[in-house]
């Protein structure tokens, strides 16, 4: 096995029936809802699923669905975990460990129904006077951090100083993505916004205003992955997996090697491009996990789509907006579509919809989609390249 190129495909892909605020379902029920939807999407007999990947208990999900799998993956590296699951699943399928994998993700991020542990940054988990010998507990929590909102963007002012990125350009990220969300019925927010609207929204953590921070929602998604060979047996259009990558950097944001660039993004995406054998010009559609407005900026540069310092103007000038040369975050992203906490699954879902030609705000002629995930605060990364082109014989 030389690479994972064209070894496997996503044949079933679906999100939870509802998205946004779902007060009557636990996080676990949402896993099941998404899984059943993905199974029905491709019409597979659930007994043909012999692999399960999830950040929750694989046993709980397998047992609930009446499956005794041959292969499991419980990798939990934050919101990019599901991109990593897809990569591991493709490798498992390619090497014969199993034939068909269910990847499932769901969270009750907004209503917190049945969530067993606090989300990173939950106030409840940071009660005053708490004594903590953990690594972040000794060297970050003591300074009043409150989860991703107060940590993820820690390098942005430095990035601005080094590259000349402006506050207007940072604000242009949610503005551009809202243009996509405007035609996506399932997006939580779809009204067109302006730079002024962003500046006038409440300051959350300077330099980030409310509209530069992701939503907090309930929801999930699931995928059915099988061999590229077998993918033809399904009625759905296969999203062939062309390239994959993964990496990790620092467990705490203050110890990143350089806070103006993600070493994990670079390592993961480079591997995915090499494996896929595609160039940046071949990419018709791009998803970059956007928990905060700076992530697409870091992503465009660390993935190599633009040169250092060019991402802000690239977005501001409309290149990633509808009609632009590089359509990005076409569901509206975590900033407008949905974000239950671990957004990576939704990014994959949109990539699959786009290569299938079934997206709400479809880009014309998409063949190749690049999907970039992040986990933690630049802690981890995962990359996937999809195509709808049949493998050449």
């Amino acid at each position: 096995m030389d690479s994972l190129r064209y070894k496997a495909a996503i044949v079933g892909a679906s999100e939870t029936t509802e998205l946004g605020s779902i007060p009557d379902k636990t996080a676990f029920q949402l896993h099941v809802d998404a899984s059943v939807n993905a199974i029905n999407d491709c019409g597979i007999d659930k007994n043909e699923i012999d692999g399960i990947a999830t950040t929750m208990s694989p046993a709980a999900l397998a047992h609930y669905l009446g499956i005794v799998p041959k292969w499991i993956d419980n990798t939990q590296v934050g919101g990019t975990s599901f991109l990593v699951h897809v990569r591991h699943a493709a490798a498992a399928i390619a090497s014969g460990l199993c034939e068909t994998v269910l990847v499932a993700m769901a969270e009750s991020g907004r209503n917190r129904v049945g969530e067993q542990t606090g989300r990173i940054g939950d106030v409840a988990t940071m009660s005053g006077g708490r004594r903590d010998s953990s690594f972040p507990g000794q060297f970050e929590s003591i300074y009043g951090v409150a989860g991703p909102t107060t940590q993820f963007g820690m390098g942005v002012l430095r990035y601005m100083k080094e590259t000349g990125l402006t506050h207007e350009q940072l604000a242009s990220v949610p503005v551009a993505q809202r243009k996509w969300a405007n035609k996506v019925p399932r997006a939580m927010y779809g009204d067109i916004i302006t730079i002024e609207d962003v500046f006038n929204s409440r300051m959350i953590c300077y330099p980030f205003h409310l509209l530069e921070c992701c939503l907090v929602t309930d929801g999930g998604g699931a995928l059915i992955i099988t061999s590229a060979e077998r993918a033809k047996d399904f009625s759905t259009k296969p999203a062939y997996i062309m390239g994959t990558g993964e990496s990790v950097e620092s467990p705490i944001v203050s110890q990143m090697y350089d806070l103006t660039t993600s070493a994990a993004f670079k390592t993961s995406s480079k591997k995915a491009f090499e494996e896929a054998g595609v160039t940046h010009d071949d990419v018709d559609h791009l998803m970059v996990y956007d928990a905060f407005a700076h992530l697409p900026i870091y992503g465009l540069e660390d993935l190599g789509f633009v040169k250092r310092g060019e991402a802000g103007s690239f977005i501001e000038e409309g290149n990633t907006s509808p009609g632009g040369t590089l359509p990005m975050n076409t569901n509206g992203g975590g900033l407008s579509y949905t974000h239950s906490g671990m957004y990576g699954m939704y990014a994959i879902q949109e990539s699959v919809r786009q290569v299938r030609g079934e997206a709400a705000h479809q880009v014309d002629g998409v063949k190749t989609s690049f999907c970039q995930g992040v986990g933690g605060m630049f802690m981890a990364a995962g990359s996937l390249v999809f195509t709808n082109e049949e493998p050449h014989r």
Partner: protein, 137 residues
Amino acid sequence: MSSGYNKPIPVPTPESDVFWEKAKQHELWIQRCLNCDKPFFYPRMNCPDCLSDNLEWFKTSGLATLYSYMINHRPVPGFEEDAPYAIAIVQLDEGPRMMTNIVGIENTPENLILDMKLKVVFDDINDEIAIPKWKPA
């Protein structure tokens, strides 16, 4: 110092106890590798560059520059009276970076200029722990 200290309290471990013991004496100590001579932070058993365990603790100059920061408008419990407060990364003159708070100056974008010079100070939160913070030098 207050018995009603309501912010998270660090608990030293075998790796970090020198750091916190020296902080209690209002000195900022970090480690250096005696094999490749590079200073580093956070406390570790092995050099992050060469994995040597031939390390030493040394007293830093207590000088740094402001590398980057955010200003939090939604305080966590214990920080209500501080908000809006900066959570900053400083770069020690010796090289390594660490997270901190900036004191002795109102935490506004106008006041907090990247690369401004800073000097370490210590906040005695109880009899055992002093937390390093930084003020304009």
